[in-house]
């Protein structure tokens, strides 16, 4: 199909979709007048029932905890899929991620030669700050803005800085693939284990069984804090694995027909 014909066809179809969407949305209550009872109920009961200050975290890791388990495994499956797709033929031989010669080379040799002095110093300066900030965001998900997903991505961005400033071999030295894979599986498994632990106490799966503690304290909200930490570990190591895969130098191969 020629591009011009495609544009014309889309003009008709897109106008139809747009009109249909707007027609459907006009039946919603006007912007700023939220009608539904669910949000109000959760806002009213979350503080007393779960001792959580951030109600969004309470919804994600407690009231809708089972959905988030599925969401986490979407992330897990996706990281696995990316690793499978970007696996090169040579990877199966020897060590899985870091080949033997690379392990013997010193850190100075692992640093990419093209990296500028300015970007290296800035990355070295900010890596520690980003790690501390990421841990803070993961740990205070039940108290303020934050949580395992957001904090996990912030933690992984420290490794992204390493990749950008020092190059791919240096990233592999800072993130041994077997260790990162272990952390990812442990983070994902911790969620299920916390859920199963409530079965031992005769409760439903993922019931909040731990003592809720004083609202506003770091050690409060029961299992929400634990699940937050597990998710933070899982998300950060998942994204580090993605960085490892996408940061691998491209092997130029003949197109496989």
């Amino acid at each position: 199909m020629r591009p011009r014909h495609r544009h014309l066809l889309f003009l008709v179809a897109g106008a139809g979709v747009l009109g249909y969407l707007v027609w459907g949305m006009l039946d919603l209550s006007p912007f700023g007048r939220y009608p539904g009872p669910y949000g109000d109920i959760v806002n009213a009961v979350a503080f007393s029932e779960r001792h959580v200050l951030n109600v969004v975290t309470a919804v994600i890791f407690d009231y809708r905890g089972f959905d988030t388990l599925g969401e986490e495994f979407i992330l897990f499956a996706c990281v696995t899929g990316v690793s499978l797709l970007l696996r090169h033929e040579g990877d199966e031989q020897g060590d899985r991620c870091s080949p033997k010669p690379r392990r013997e080379s010193s850190l100075e040799q692992a640093i990419a030669p093209h990296a500028s002095e300015a970007s290296r110093s800035c990355a070295a300066l900010y890596c520690g700050l980003i790690l501390v900030f990421g841990v803070y965001i993961v740990l205070t998900g039940h108290l303020s803005v934050g949580g395992g997903f957001q904090g996990g991505v912030i933690l992984a961005s420290a490794w992204l800085l390493v990749l950008v400033a020092f190059g791919s071999p240096a990233l592999h030295r800072f993130a041994r693939k077997y260790a990162v894979e272990w952390f990812e599986s442990a983070g994902a498994g911790a969620y299920v284990l916390i859920g199963l632990a409530s079965l031992l106490f005769g409760q439903n799966f993922l019931t909040n069984i731990l003592p809720l503690g004083e609202p506003g304290q770091l050690l409060s909200s029961g299992t929400i804090l634990l699940i937050n930490c597990g998710v933070g570990i899982e998300v950060s190591s998942g994204f580090i694995l993605l960085l490892c895969e996408f940061g691998k130098p491209l092997q130029h191969q003949k197109p496989v027909r």
């Binding site: 897109g14 006009l26 939220y34 949000g39 503080f47 200050l53 951030n54 969004v56 997903f149 191969q253």
Partner: protein, 115 residues
């Protein structure tokens, strides 16, 4: 004016679809797909929004019981963002695989009829 955010969400959806339909590069197509997905964030957050005396559903600075916007749609939006980020990563990996196998990332030349 009170329906403007919904209309912006619909517009984002359609303009992202336009990009997907007319794309000449698979990475560009994935970026357009994330524009389509961002329309769902906007729609979800607009549905749960409430005018100004209402606060964010985080009661660390305001006492519990203060009127607040709907936290359920915020949680759904977070799920949405995580899924869309992972889907983008998976699609980008597929693009790298297509480039490796077929030597091109232009949907026109990847047509099955030109094999």
């Amino acid at each position: 004016m009170s329906y403007l955010p919904y209309c912006v969400a619909a517009w984002l959806f359609v303009i992202g679809l336009y990009g997907v339909v007319t794309s000449r590069h698979l990475v560009h197509l994935i970026v357009c797909l994330s524009v389509v997905q961002s329309s769902t964030y906007l729609l979800l957050l607009s549905i749960g929004f409430r005018d100004l005396p209402a606060q964010a559903p985080i009661f660390s600075d305001v006492p519990p019981g203060t009127p607040a916007v709907d936290p359920v749609v915020h949680a759904l939006t977070l799920t949405d963002i995580v899924v869309s980020a992972t889907v983008s990563a998976l699609l980008l990996a597929l693009v790298m695989d297509v480039q490796r196998r077929r030597g091109s990332v232009d949907p026109e030349t990847l047509s099955p009829f030109r094999e």
